[in-house]
């Protein structure tokens, strides 16, 4: 007992809490049971950057992705699970330790396919339990890790290839070595601050022999350069002590990115794909003497295309002459590189290829559109359908019921999908509404049949009428032949809050259309810096020219109307300007000087502006410095139309910033999306907490709160759309915090709205087991309460009662510290059902309650907490109130009939059981047997007494007939049909007849039996039949 007291002592509340108790909580406590909801989509998936197999178990496969973390399969690549959600989601490489392959896995973060939209890594990680837990092992500033090599005889010895920073100089590049399992690292090979290690491989028979390719590269927001005099391929034969260039046979002049691979069966055979100055000597080189000399074999398109994106070459582990090369379509050679054929049909942009260790006809391929499997050496491809890796640039929503989410994806077009769908959001629920790379997609504000979408650089802006299937290109053209419009890769398209038919589009000017894109006018001067040094895109790319539009710069990136004043328009540009018009675009004021170079470096990209929902002069701007090699988060706020600005982030916030949203009701509840996840502030930015409840540390490119549903909808760049459903409890929680002066009670109920019981039905979905299905929001009633402390000792339970105190149901209580949400599916306890030989499905039915108010009682230790919740029928339902009343009354009639029958059978069973003791007794046999016979005869008509639960099922009896009717009547929301009511009448009659038969047995055979039972054994009177009330007690 002493121990108990000690334990309970732990629970005494410590000290008084001041107001704003919530401010002290972590996001996990504040949001408690509220979890993020993932809806994909996975049908177009997203970019996979690396594939890593297990050295001895062909069924275990890991993939690293561009923005969606690390996923693991234990069935050879059919089903995948994310295993790296807490950490940076941009992955360069995954490596399994050959010494302990079931347990030890390494992840090098930072994708190495350096396109404009690629993200940034934050170091190297290790798991010692197959990916369940991870530990950061340093190299925090490496930004991009290309390869990890582990000595197959000593796990402590590790080499890491670091490609390094893309957007600026960095000394954290080259080859790193650890001799203590990653505790410390030594940079053993370094070229300069511009040149990183793009590939690092090792001879499987000799860990001292390694090959490292180095690449000089740089990206700015307006240019890309691949190549330079420092790009080279090196070899070491002494475990990294000395390195020498191995270019005998390589092209002269500057080189670019080099991909290198050796043949596991014959490690002297090495292949390199080389980017060089001249087209004729680009492409594939082969060495048969471990790199001493090279021979140029091939410069086919797929061997030379976009080296920054596709420099990966892989050799079949079973055949030194079979090599596969990443590329626009990818290619495979079976003759040692002389000739290639394209890989089978799949999504373009291939980044990695993997051969099964036992049967190299089985392959996996990583693309911009997810992961593919092949059983026939990449002739036929089959896509993995449960990888929701979609990379959204932007999202918007409509007001339909359920509402739809619109958005565009990296290399995967534009899509519309529902926020909920019967039995889950499936691949077939998504509708394609754009081609190319997709970006900003909007419904017409008052007619969501009309959809606007765009492709890269606004090369096309489409208006699509979903109903009539009319598609029109509605992009603005230059106003004169000399005028050159500059659109960002991700051009600032927007609808208007105030004018339904209006569209805005940003080039260097603000374009406006007031007739859904038919006609456009320019309403601003050039609002950018128009810096000529940043306008030479046609010369971009370095050794391989690459003018895709991805580097277009000095463009408008964000346009924001004030919801409070139609004439207030904010504009942000990718080169760091914020411009404001207070007269609908007639005059513009450049307010950049008020923050630029003060709160953030000059020319920091203005990624998003949000005009405040509550104050006209207030705006929030999210700045993204990563293209200037600056990963700090920037959220700045003005309250005086841009005259002055204040930085609104603290040191809690990590990762560069892209998106922002303010709650629709509580102006202090704000959300900030960074490259590494979601941050929340409940006090307008005074302090921030990271939201991690089922929320990966994924880049959030755009977010928006639904005006009616109060859901925060996030377009992530790597994990599709993630929602935080219904934030109204958080608002209420904030109000309660103030009202209760910091929650005086251990348990505080949070007021809930009226809940509407859905009356929709479905037959489920059509997806197969291997397809991703997004989860639906819950439409259950919610009981919400705040616990100051987690409940661990003593009883805690939750009951729902009606207003007359009749028990309706009990539900398991949530017991977390912080916000707890318990869901109730509106059902009551199922009826007690007659016992038979088999189980009756009707016995599992728990009918719905009627609309109305219900009591919620939580008992916690000795204390009782009570609140009420109200539930209602949906508005605009097809069912009338009168129909619902008949439905409910009929259901309850069947419910009671079920229980009447249960008790009748219970009584029969009681006497049958007692009779067991007398049946064999010759003295009474003659008297007892007729009773048993009559009771059994009756029972056979009431419940099934033979067969099983499957195809051995016996003929249904009264119990089964009642529950069949129960199932059809209680499952519907309207009134039962005449046929059903007549059926009920018949069942009731059958029951009454059975009851009367039982009474006759009771009065005759049972009375006799009871008589001699008492005579024979006076103790027998103790064996009392349970009363009906006791029997039915729940």
């Amino acid at each position: 007992m002493k121990k108990l007291l000690i334990l309970l002592g732990v629970f005494s509340l410590s000290g008084a809490f001041t107001q704003n108790f919530l401010k002290t909580l972590s996001a996990q406590e504040l949001f408690g049971s509220m979890e993020a909801r993932h809806i994909g989509p996975a049908l177009m998936s997203g970019r996979v950057s690396d594939i890593e197999g297990h050295p001895s178990d062909k069924l275990t496969v890991y993939i690293g992705t561009a923005g969606g973390g690390v996923w693991k399969s234990t069935d050879g690549g059919v089903l995948f699970t994310p295993i790296f959600d807490k950490y940076c989601q941009s992955i360069g490489t995954v490596k399994v330790d050959p010494n302990d392959p079931d347990r030890v896995v390494w992840v090098g973060t930072g994708e190495t396919w350096t396109r404009n939209s690629t993200s940034i890594g934050d170091g190297i990680y290790k798991s010692e339990d197959g990916g369940a837990n991870w530990k950061k092992m340093g190299l925090e500033k490496s930004e991009r890790i290309s390869n990890i090599l582990i000595n197959p005889e000593n796990s402590q010895e590790i080499f890491v290839g670091v490609l390094g920073a893309l957007w600026g100089d960095s000394e954290e590049r080259g080859v790193y070595h650890s001799s203590n399992g990653g505790q410390t690292w030594e940079k053993i090979f370094y070229i300069d601050e511009k040149t990183g290690c793009s590939d690092l491989i090792v001879d499987p028979n000799d860990f001292n022999t390694m090959y490292a390719s180095f690449w000089e590269f740089r990206r700015t927001a307006w240019s890309f350069n691949s190549g330079g005099s420092n790009s080279a391929l090196y070899k070491t034969a002494d475990g990294g002590k000395t390195w020498k260039k191995i270019h005998n046979g390589f092209p002269e002049g500057k080189l670019g990115r080099i991909g290198v691979a050796l043949a596991p069966l014959d490690p002297k055979v090495i292949y390199a794909v080389v980017e060089s100055e001249k087209d004729e000597d680009k492409g594939l080189y082969r060495s048969e003497d471990a790199g001493n000399s090279w021979k140029h074999l091939n410069n086919d398109f797929d061997l030379t295309v976009r080296p920054f994106y596709f420099s990966r070459i892989v050799v079949d582990p079973k055949d030194a002459n079979v090599i596969a090369k990443a590329g626009l379509s990818g290619a495979i050679s079976k003759d040692g590189g002389k000739t290639f054929v394209g890989l089978g049909f799949m999504h373009s942009d291939i980044h990695d290829i993997w051969f099964d260790i036992e049967d190299s006809d089985k392959m996996l391929v990583a693309t911009d559109g997810g992961l593919y499997r092949s059983l026939n050496k990449c002739v036929t491809m089959e896509r993995v359908e449960n990888l929701p890796l979609s990379q959204y640039y932007h999202i918007s929503m409509d007001n339909e019921e359920p509402y739809n989410i619109y958005g565009g994806l990296q290399d995967n077009g534009s899509w519309i999908g529902p926020s909920s769908s019967p039995a889950g959001i499936e691949a077939r629920d998504w509708l394609s509404v754009g081609m190319g790379d997709g970006f900003r997609v909007f419904p017409h504000p008052t007619n969501s049949n009309i959809v606007y979408s765009e492709m890269q650089g606004a090369e096309n802006v489409w208006r699509f009428d979903q109903k009539s299937r009319q598609l029109k290109i509605v992009k603005p053209y230059p106003e004169s032949i000399d005028q050159k419009l500059r659109f960002n890769w991700n051009a600032a398209l927007s609808t208007s809050i105030h004018y339904p038919d209006r569209l805005y589009l940003g080039s260097q000017f603000v374009h406006v259309s007031d007739d859904m894109g038919e006609n456009w006018r320019i309403i601003s001067p050039d609002l950018t810096t128009n810096d000529p040094n940043k306008l030479n895109q046609e010369n971009s790319g370095g050794l391989s020219k690459d003018n895709s539009g991805a580097e277009n710069h000095c463009t408008i990136f964000t346009i924001a109307e004030s919801p409070l004043n139609k004439d207030v328009i904010w504009v942000g540009t990718d080169d760091g300007n914020i411009q404001l018009s207070k007269d609908g675009g007639k005059n513009w004021e450049n307010v950049t000087a008020a923050f630029s170079g003060k709160l953030a470096p000059k020319n920091t990209w203005v990624y998003h502006i949000e005009a405040d929902k509550f104050n006209e002069g207030t705006a929030w701007a999210v700045l993204d410095g990563h293209t200037q090699n600056d990963s700090h988060p920037y959220l700045i706020k003005t309250t005086d139309f841009g005259k002055s600005w204040k930085l609104m982030v603290d040191s809690t916030v990590i990762g560069f910033t892209r998106s922002f949203e303010q709650d629709n009701v509580n102006e202090k509840l704000i959300f900030l999306g960074t490259e590494l996840g979601l941050y929340v502030s409940i006090n307008g930015g005074e302090n921030w907490i990271k939201f991690e409840n089922n929320m990966p540390s994924v880049a959030i490119h755009y977010m928006e709160m639904h005006p009616k549903k109060h859901d925060l909808v996030m377009g992530t760049h790597g994990r599709g759309i993630i929602l935080l459903d219904d934030l109204s409890p958080i608002r209420k929680l904030l109000t309660e915090d103030t009202k209760t002066d910091g929650f005086k009670e251990e348990l505080t109920f949070i007021p809930t709205p009226v809940y509407f019981m859905s009356d929709e039905s479905s037959f489920g979905n059509t997806s197969t087991e291997t397809q991703f299905v997004g989860s639906n929001p819950s439409d259950n009633a919610k009981i919400i309460y705040f616990l100051k402390k987690r409940h661990t000792f003593g009883k805690m339970n939750l009951e729902i009662r009606d207003l007359n105190d009749k028990l309706i149901t009990t539900i398991g209580a949530e017991k977390k510290k912080g916000l707890n949400i318990v869901e109730w599916n509106y059902s009551m306890i199922s009826p007690k059902i007659a016992q038979g030989k088999t189980l009756d499905f009707g016995g599992f039915i728990s009918p719905r309650v009627e609309a109305g108010k219900y009591k919620v009682i939580i008992t916690k230790g000795k204390k009782e907490y009570t609140t009420e919740i109200e539930i209602a029928y949906p508005e605009n339902s097809v069912f009338s109130l009168e129909d619902r009343k008949i439905q409910y009354a009929t259901t309850m009639e069947i419910y009671n009939l079920t229980e009447d029958l249960a008790y009748l059978v219970h009584q029969i069973d009681f006497y049958l059981k007692l009779a067991e003791n007398y049946k064999e007794n010759n003295k009474y046999k003659k008297e007892v047997l007729p009773m048993v016979e009559r009771l059994n005869g009756l029972k056979k008509t009431l419940v099934i007494t033979s067969g099983d639960n499957y195809v051995g099922a016996a003929e249904p009896q009264l119990r089964e007939k009642i529950s069949d009717l129960m199932s059809s009547v209680s499952g519907y929301f309207g009134k039962p049909g005449k046929n059903q009511l007549e059926n009920l009448k018949g069942l009731k009659k059958a029951y009454e007849e059975a009851e009367s038969t039982y009474k006759s047995i009771l009065n005759k055979e049972i009375a006799k039996f009871t008589g001699f039972r008492l005579k024979d054994n006076p103790e027998a009177k103790l064996e009392q039949l349970q009363s009906k009330t006791d029997f039915l007690k729940k």
């Binding site: 234990t74 510290k817 088999t838």
Partner: protein, 262 residues
């Protein structure tokens, strides 16, 4: 120590779990060993737990408005028995006598032999009663303290507990459990494991403990919830109604002659 059943019963999928005993102790440590020692001390003392030779639990599981009574026995020699009652019928769910075991087939309601791999794993669990933490080193189990984490809003010690090897599709794999011990009172409030088989393979399951209460000087969690981590929070809760220790064994529970005729 939790058995999870998932069977398709006609159109309806019934998922429920029968909780074993969570006599599971965990340790808490500044070092892992100290944490475990404090835990065992707080829940009644290792020497008292070592005297527990059997356990009977009467519990209930709520499924869709139904309350399903469950009965579970466990014995120090590894035997276990669990049954449940549905629609008035009591059915044996699983029974294991230390060597042989049977499970109910819900379609035929007949007992069928437990598959060889599951049976082997049951055998390997035999020494875990009443707590895998008692003399865990002698059993070859290993304990490691990981970085602290917050679960259920509570600051916790996180321990990685490997209770030997188990078979998974023919392969020997570590049986790993992650225990979260409340730092204030050194009792486990969550255990996590990685699901190894089936369509959920790779996902993490959580077992959440609360309502600890005393039985003959020993503390047991009277509420155990099984859920998927990062799922929709809709787990299955088993509520202990009565826990008895050192109960007599009913020999008929382990009489398999009737099953063998099936």
């Amino acid at each position: 120590m939790l058995f999870i059943f998932e069977k398709k019963l006609g159109k309806m999928k019934i998922v429920f779990m029968i909780g074993g005993l969570l006599w599971a102790c965990l340790a808490y440590n500044q070092t892992a060993d100290e944490i475990v020692a404090t835990y065992l001390e707080n829940i009644g003392g290792a020497e008292n737990w070592a005297k527990v030779k059997s356990q009977k639990i009467q519990a209930s599981v709520s499924v869709q408005g139904m309350k399903i009574p469950v009965l579970m026995y466990s014995f120090a020699d590894g035997k276990s028995y669990s049954s449940f009652t549905m629609q008035g019928k009591t059915m044996v769910q699983q029974v294991f006598d230390g060597e042989k075991g049977y499970e109910m087939n819900f379609m035929t309601q007949k007992m069928e032999e437990i598959d060889a791999e599951s049976l082997e794993n049951l055998k390997r669990n035999k020494g875990d009663f009443p707590s895998p933490f008692l003399n865990y080193k002698e059993k070859g189990y290993t304990l490691e303290k990981l970085e602290d984490e917050t679960v259920e809003g509570v600051d916790c010690f996180k321990l990685k507990f490997i209770t030997g090897k188990k078979l998974n599709e023919g392969k020997e794999v570590d049986d790993v459990m992650y225990y979260y011990f409340d730092k204030e009172n050194y009792v486990p409030i969550v255990i996590e494991t990685t699901i190894k088989m089936g369509p959920m393979a790779g996902k993490t399951s959580q077992t959440v403990f609360s309502d600890y209460d005393e039985v003959d000087g020993l503390f047991f969690p009277f509420s155990i919830k099984e859920q998927l981590k990062d799922g929709d929070g809709q787990g299955q809760t088993i509520t202990m109604e009565k826990i008895e220790i050192n109960v007599e064994e009913d020999k008929s529970m382990f009489d398999f002659s009737a099953y063998e005729k099936n």
